[in-house]
Symmetry: C2
Subunit: 287 residues, 2 copies
């Protein structure tokens, strides 16, 4: 593949793994005859069962070269035997779990260097839930569900893997009432575009400069460029956020977004037409 083909598939969680698998199909399609590595680094327990779920799904979608990269301690992320699993890989898939486990265990290690290389060489890096959160430079870690943002509130952020810049991603977006916390993140620095992704929904980021939506839910783009006032820097930490003149787009399958000029447009062709029915809730071990 050429460098220009590099792709991120950022999934809001609970993507279908058993039925029509709209989102995982896209991962499989882009991996093609290449090699896909699934990593359960975000998980502590149940990693085998989780890998098996993905293995079954991806095999059914025609992925022939599929490997499991399990890392339960940071030390392992430096072992040549682990790095070797990523040899010749053209795709990496991060499962859900805990985003801090991902960054604390592979950040600044040979494993991450290799993943970065795979991406830069034109590969596909996909992640769901915690695996989606880690894509951006700064990631949302905890807090703020079902609440408006309070200036000194409990929302925690941490440095992510930084595969995409200028964007802060949040997942399980409407399902967990995360509008407030993403607004808080954008208010703190409007250079970042807030992108909130629903469950069973993904953005496919092509060449880092635009994305389209895949799946049954919504994607919320929060643009603070034109904000005229916010109280985010006030001293009284008990205050609820106030911010004027936010521009927002709500996107769904059939929409594309240009990250360079921050504008949405309708897309035509395949992805716009094949609309998946709402998937049934699945029972899975992941968050």
């Amino acid at each position: 593949m050429e460098r220009s083909d590099r792709t991120l598939i950022i999934i809001g969680g609970k993507e279908d793994r058993a039925n029509n698998k709209v989102i995982l199909s896209e991962v499989a399609r882009r991996v093609g005859s290449g090699k896909l590595v699934v990593t359960t680094v975000a998980m502590t327990n149940g990693t085998d069962q989780l890998f098996e779920q993905y293995e079954k799904a991806f095999r059914a979608l025609g992925v022939k070269h599929l490997y499991n990269l399990e890392i339960s301690e940071r030390e392992q992320a430096t072992l040549p035997s682990k790095v070797k699993i990523l040899d010749d890989a053209t795709g990496v898939f991060f499962t859900g779990g805990d985003q801090l486990k991902i960054t604390s265990q592979i950040g600044d290690t040979p494993i991450f260097e290799r993943i970065r290389e795979i991406y830069d060489d034109g590969g596909v890096i996909a992640g769901t839930s915690a695996g989606a959160a880690v894509m951006s430079e700064t990631m949302l870690v905890e807090g703020g569900d079902e609440n408006s943002h309070v200036i000194g509130g409990s929302v925690r952020m941490a440095p992510g893997l930084g595969l995409i810049s200028g964007v802060i991603v949040d997942q399980h977006f409407m399902e967990r009432g995360r509008f407030g916390r993403l607004m808080g993140a954008v208010a703190q620095n409007p250079k970042n575009l807030g992108v909130g992704i629903d469950e069973q929904t993904a953005i496919v980021v092509e060449r880092g400069n635009g994305f389209y939506v895949l799946g049954s839910g919504g994607v919320y783009v929060i643009d603070g460029t034109q904000v005229t006032y916010s109280n985010i820097a006030e001293e009284d930490m008990r205050k609820t956020l106030s911010i004027y003149n936010v521009r927002m787009h709500m996107l769904s399958q059939g929409d594309r977004f240009d990250l360079l000029n921050r504008s949405p447009r309708q897309m035509k062709g395949r992805a716009a037409e094949k609309l998946p029915e709402k998937e049934e809730e699945q029972e899975t071990a992941t968050v």
Copy 2:
């Protein structure tokens, strides 16, 4: 009072009734030495206990003339003995419960005519939760919690009391993940401004042309005037809403909003300064 003083106090639910009572204080302050009628028409059971809660709260806030208007069937809304309770009233307070009970039982009855008169004569009409939803011409009744809006989805609307026009109000806003459904309502007709009010938070609408925020949470204003595209009228009812270029303001205590030119600004003085601490969750019979 003069006609120009008429006020709506629209509360997102769970306002404090036991401690500092920031929102109920404002109701009491505006009723002053006048007569306040609390109506539990939205409730089926437990109306006595609920009235007692409000009675205790309002008496503690200095309201001397306080009456209970209980209506359990539509027939009662035409009885002279019930209408009489509203004689000389300068304030009416709608408790929470079921918004359809309010509109179906008092819509187009002498009771509602009288309430409308009280308002037009410069009185204060307040409502919390279901009592807040009924204020607008069209009210949100059910569905859509914690989900992005689906075109043919389960969100139900119904005609409200119409005390404020050009606005659709939603309550328990962040707490119940109602961003999606309010976006759906605005997409259907952007002439309506969407106003989502958190719990323990209220808007005080003065003379119908502007409001300020009171309480500890946020108020979300969704303005569809500049929307450039939406798929709301598409035939495929399974599609998730898509809408571009929504303007949004998130307001909190200290902010004022002009409904005529749809613009926010910071306010000065009393209401901006006295910030209530976040109230503790209360156990109450209402929704």
